[in-house]
Point group: C2
Chain length 230, copies 2
């Protein structure tokens, strides 16, 4: 079979498609670079031309999922009936919905980053997604502030702070996953829900809004997320 020459961005996307399919089905740990190049019909050299490692592939996959999720949520955020608070709540509700829909796949692919020894990988993956989400949040804060609905001294810096604060969930997820592994799904879900509730309170306070204005938590979310079967 003659070798098909394709533009590098098409090859990268195909490699990501293959990796995603394999990670979603068998899990990140159970998929090797060899599995991915076999599935993609490429040589090892061609793979490493596009990605320096399996970790780099996971990072690119996180960026692509964040990009696609934001594209899916964008119309909701542009709903003209919403004000600055409504848009933030729409973003939280939308991202909860996507998290539950994709829960089995996310678990197989990304839960590996919560393992203590994978701290560096966690931060790579998080940073890749964060770069895409930050301008969206800064924009929501700026618009809400211009409308006089939100009290935000510096939308860029506050967007960074919101995203930084989200990282308490690395620790919380580590603990929740350990409990879930031991069969204590109720306790794991309770821990995650409680921290989401406190995260919502923190966002309310950072925006000087009454407690309960920003709905980061939702009853049953953690259970649905942790419980979703592949």
């Amino acid at each position: 079979m003659p070798r098909v020459i394709k533009p590098p961005e098409i090859r990268s996307a195909e490699l990501l498609d293959c990796a995603q399919r394999l990670f979603f089905e068998h899990g990140y740990d159970n998929t090797t670079v060899n599995d991915i190049i076999r599935e993609a019909g490429l040589s090892k050299g061609a793979f490493y031309h596009h990605f320096t490692s399996k970790e780099a592939l996971l990072e690119a996959l996180a960026a692509r999922l964040a990009h696609d999720s934001l594209a899916e949520l964008r119309p909701m955020l542009e709903d003209p009936s919403l004000d600055g608070i409504g848009r933030l709540n729409a973003l939280f509700a939308g991202s909860r919905r996507l998290n539950v829909e994709l829960a089995p796949q996310l678990r197989k692919t990304f839960f590996v980053v919560f393992r203590p020894e994978n701290l560096a990988l966690f931060h790579r993956v998080d940073q890749a997604a964060r770069e895409l989400v930050k301008p969206i949040i800064a924009d929501l804060l700026r618009k809400g502030s211009d409308e006089g609905i939100l009290d935000v001294p510096d939308p860029e810096a506050f967007a960074e702070m919101f995203l930084q604060l989200r990282l308490i969930f690395r620790d919380v997820m580590q603990r929740a996953l350990r409990q879930a592994e031991r069969g204590n799904i109720d306790e794991a879900a309770q821990l995650l829900d409680e921290r989401l509730r406190l995260y919502g309170i923190a966002i309310d306070r950072l925006l000087r809004l009454p407690n309960g204005t920003i709905e980061a938590a939702q009853p049953g979310f953690a259970r649905a997320f942790l419980d979703a079967n592949p």
Copy 2:
């Protein structure tokens, strides 16, 4: 010379002393494990018995410095004339003072963790210090809450959030150090001061206090910190 047998914790402390002396004088990058064992008069095997790597040494050094700093600040935090807000401000003021006093040494030893490629090392070092600081902050929040001075729904979780939020300074320090390297000390200091001011506002808001209550920033601090000569 007969080999002197010492308890392992004494040996570890001696190795840390040697490493600290060399890091403080020549910088982390310019000090090798060989330099440290030569200075300590130990074999390589003995070194690796105590520390798995130079990174592990830096982590232990961060923990020791955090421990010693907290010990030095403790009497101030126990000043009976202070209330919950006064104690938090005393903690910020004390840690600013120690940061300026130790600035040249901290720069030579720890600024390496702000380099983008040292993300994992940054988080190891931060986590080591954070484990020691977290219970102190949780305790200050709990006491302030018991006194009715501070409004804190969950002292442990809020202590985690305060420390998590502090990590915006990794990015900010990266940017400030790049500017300082280019000779733009004024801009670097302004960036750092401004983010400290916003961090203070964030803490005020998280505690539902009026803006300007918690004094995280102080005019001239960033300049003194960045400018301090070795």
